[in-house]
């Protein structure tokens, strides 16, 4: 049963799953609670433009450009989301389309659009050992931010007015959260792909929400569902010779529908 772990790349991939999935599950809890899944989806799509800018600028480490672009993009979207000047839904849809169209246009100008296909679907098996450390650091930072700032994120999401009256710096928390999501999404896209990143972000939390009755169980079940699907998906993909990311998402979707049937009344 364990011969799938005899290969170095599978062991690395397993580590990647064990680091990446908790990271995304944690963020996903509040993305789902704040009804921001469309927001994070648009953010993922904007990665195309981020990469294109990096490529055109000739920056060798294009991921840094991607992260920076993602942060700016997220802050702009958040500003409009908060202003309530226009329908949030529509504005995010516009941002999302621009992110994709601009990215594709810029990349096609270089004449080798096909080279960037990996960005769409990602490949978790391509994680290198040094990248595992990046993931571990990202997880540690996110967990720390969660411990320090969760109350603020949560308080602002339920009622900015009550949060303000209790002395929370509401705008800071609001922006810090989207910046955190932007950074992690941009970091993870290389392995998960921009078509699937949002699913990986929201499905564990969405499944957990079906059955959780407190913030503790919500977090715990998100992590458990995410890790279960991550490991099972990796294992299934190895033995069936199919792509890992999509297999993990399918397992997560199955968990979602399973918990949906058990939904609390």
């Amino acid at each position: 049963m364990s011969d799938w772990l005899q290969y170095e790349f599978m062991r690395t991939a397993l580590w990647a799953v064990l680091l990446l999935v908790p990271l995304l599950s944690l963020l996903g809890t509040l993305v789902v609670n704040n009804k921001m899944s469309f927001f994070s989806d648009a953010l993922g799509h904007s990665a195309l433009t981020g990469v294109a800018i990096g490529v055109i600028a000739g920056v060798s480490e294009y991921r840094l450009v991607m992260v920076l672009f993602g942060v700016v993009f997220a802050l702009c979207m958040n500003r409009i989301r908060r202003s309530r000047l226009a329908s949030t839904d529509t504005v995010i849809g516009v941002f999302s389309s621009v992110g994709v169209a601009l990215g594709l246009t810029l990349l096609s100008a270089r004449g080798n659009l096909a080279n960037y296909q990996s960005l769409l679907v990602g490949d978790i098996l391509s994680v290198s050992t040094s990248e595992l450390w990046v993931l571990a650091a990202a997880l540690a930072v996110t967990a720390l931010v969660w411990v320090v700032c969760f109350n603020g994120f949560f308080a602002v999401s339920i009622s900015p007015s009550v949060a303000k009256s209790k002395g929370f710096p509401t705008a800071l928390y609001d922006n810090l959260f989207v910046v955190l999501v932007a950074v992690i999404v941009m970091l993870a896209i290389r392995w998960v792909g921009l078509l699937l990143i949002n699913a990986m972000l929201i499905l564990p939390a969405a499944a957990s929400r079906n059955v959780a009755r407190s913030m503790r169980s919500y977090h715990l079940l998100s992590l458990i569902f995410g890790l279960f699907a991550g490991v099972l998906g990796l294992w299934l993909s190895y033995y069936n010779g199919v792509a890992t990311g999509p297999t993990i998402i399918l397992v997560l979707a199955a968990v979602f529908f399973g918990t949906f049937a058990l939904r609390k009344k």
Partner: protein
């Protein structure tokens, strides 16, 4: 009204508050003083700028004018006043897993609400919530409370820690008569506890019987003073034709 010599911040002074947004003046030059140990009620038709004025007082929206807290001596306070705010509604749907305890922990403590709550914090909240007949609600899911339960939970959160000023934004929608009586009774108790109470209310019979001061607002202040005076004013009769009777 009686003086509470032991209270720290005695008076909320709102001076010349004006709020403008997208070319419109929503609140114009509103000044009012609200005292500790009194219930000050804000009344007016829908869209009169009552909630906007509250947001300005909370510092949530840009405005001109001043909001100051003073002690008995009339000297403005240096410390930030503690504000308890009871909103009209919250962004919480019935699928939200958050329990009342999670909310209370997040709003009133530094303990991360997603971790198991230590016994001492739980005990402290339970004791405080018991006063509002809400101790049993702590383990309920927040999104599934009834109107009356919500009201007591929000009041409990707003009054922990003890605020200098309690601000309530029309907190009585969707509550039955018994629940309402209980709520007004709690407000009466809180009135005696060294806090300025400011309430937006559409319940004119409550305002008549419980408020110490009334401010009638329609963009600007149309009338203010004791309930009997305001209810007898021309502006009141114009704003609430046939209203205010018991």
């Amino acid at each position: 009204m009686s003086h509470h010599s032991h209270c720290g911040l005695h008076c909320l002074k709102i001076e010349h508050i004006t709020v403008r947004a997208s070319g419109q003046t929503l609140v114009e030059d509103v000044s009012l003083h609200a005292h500790c140990g009194e219930i000050t009620a804000l009344i007016g038709r829908n869209g009169a700028g009552k909630s906007t004025l509250f947001k300005a007082i909370l510092g949530e929206i840009p405005h001109t004018g001043e909001v100051v807290f003073t002690g008995h001596n009339g000297i403005p306070s240096k410390r930030r006043p503690k504000i308890g705010y009871v909103p009209q509604s919250l962004n919480i749907d019935d699928g939200n897993p958050a329990s009342v305890l999670d909310m209370a922990v997040a709003y009133t403590s530094r303990w991360p609400a997603f971790l198991p709550v230590p016994h001492r914090i739980r005990a402290r909240l339970k004791k405080h919530f018991a006063r509002f007949d809400a101790a049993d609600l702590l383990d309920k899911q927040a999104g599934r409370l009834s109107g009356g339960e919500w009201q007591r939970v929000l009041l409990a959160i707003a009054t922990h820690p003890h605020p200098d000023m309690l601000v309530l934004d029309e907190p009585v929608s969707g509550v039955d008569t018994a629940g309402l009586a209980k709520f007004y009774d709690l407000l009466e108790q809180l009135r005696g506890e060294d806090m300025v109470i400011l309430i937006i209310s559409h319940d004119l019979s409550f305002v008549r019987t419980h408020a110490d001061r009334v401010v009638l607002l329609d963009g600007k202040v149309l009338a203010k003073g004791a309930p009997t005076d305001v209810f007898a004013s021309e502006a009141f009769l114009k704003a609430f034709p046939g209203g205010g009777e018991r």
